[in-house]
Symmetry: C2
Subunit: 219 residues, 2 copies
């Protein structure tokens, strides 16, 4: 099985720009990518992990496990992934596991369970109608359509292609890091590089209100 | 096993007051309660379902399944529940399953899985550090502490009492209906009374943006 992780470092996580600088957002994005790669890697289910990078970035100087491959595809998310799926199908690659790079609460446990679910398409919803994991067992009969309520779009595409669907229900998988409120979840439930990075910026948690505490941020 | 559902109809869901009237919020709260009761009931795991109502309300004129009991305890959430736990322990009731009334995406499946997890305390996080399900197998050695980051508080209380803990990871259980954005999740993933009620108000989903569409609301 092959894991595919789309990654964008350039102007990453723009909705966090109110609290994190451009450099911090890039470093944070990279820390999250590390957490996702670590979780994928630990399952030992994937012979290849491909990070699809949408632009040349400093991130790629860093060290990843040996079965991680960095691809530069300077295209939009849908175009890049659909091109990837077509190529995979023509090379008779049967199983493509697309996982987002900004869900640092995911662990080996959820990825293992996701790979074990039956269904031509296994999908894990992200908050706000998103799709955080999409495991595709017939890449020649499916295409992705991210943005907007992609969860509904992916169900529709699978139905139209007569593919069986399994929905994976996980809070930790659904939680991506888009808005400042999402950082609260990371501070409460996180264990890896991303939460460590976030704490290093001085962002904390106000446990009485459940909101971010920005009073100790380094300026 | 006994299920306990705290319920508040008076000024329910105040953070939705920008889009729903007071009456609508009360009706919506009741529709959600119905969905939660239905999911609990379907598991056939509970001989008694107690709704702890914090104020006298019209809701209680409605018909519930015969094993649903309505208690009026005009106290705050923590005080009411802790009083309840003490009483349960003194009556040698061993298993108390506290489930919030505002999580209408929950189904029989998640509740079944929750009841089957090992652990003195089984806890399902809600978004923002909340606690959406708390299954207590030793009510004499535990007390609740809702509000703020209650998830962390409940872990701490269990640790201090040397109780074993299982965390249940579910997007559908974690999703409670507090803010307008939460309604997006209900419109995408909902199946029961609550989403039906919401649609009846004219609230829809803009699938291109993943945001609420309020343009067809009845005034």
């Amino acid at each position: 099985m092959r894991a595919v992780i789309p990654f964008k470092q350039e102007n990453a996580k723009s909705r966090l720009s109110g609290i994190l600088s451009k450099t911090q957002r890039q470093e944070f994005a990279l820390a999250m990518l590390y957490d996702v790669i670590a979780a994928v890697e630990k399952t030992k289910k994937f012979d290849l992990i491909e990070v699809i990078n949408s632009s040349i970035s400093c991130a790629m100087n860093t060290k990843f496990p040996s079965n991680v491959n960095i691809l530069l595809i300077e295209k939009g998310l849908n175009e890049a992934l659909n091109e990837y799926l077509i190529k995979a199908a023509s090379n008779t690659v049967q199983d493509i596991f697309i996982i987002m790079a900004d869900m640092p609460l995911v662990t080996e446990k959820q990825i293992m369970e996701l790979t074990e679910l039956p269904g031509d398409i296994v999908i894990a919803p992200g908050s706000g109608g998103g799709t955080n994991v999409l495991s595709i067992h017939n890449p020649d009969t499916f295409h992705v359509d991210y943005y907007g309520t992609s969860f509904l779009d992916h169900l529709r595409i699978a139905n139209e292609a007569d593919l069986s669907i399994a929905v994976y229900d996980s809070f930790f998988v659904s939680t991506d890091m888009d808005e400042p409120d999402d950082l609260v979840e990371l501070l409460i439930h996180g264990r890896g590089h991303a939460v460590e990075y976030l704490r290093s910026t001085g962002i904390g948690l106000d446990t009485s209100t459940g909101k971010l505490d920005l009073s100790n941020m380094k300026s």
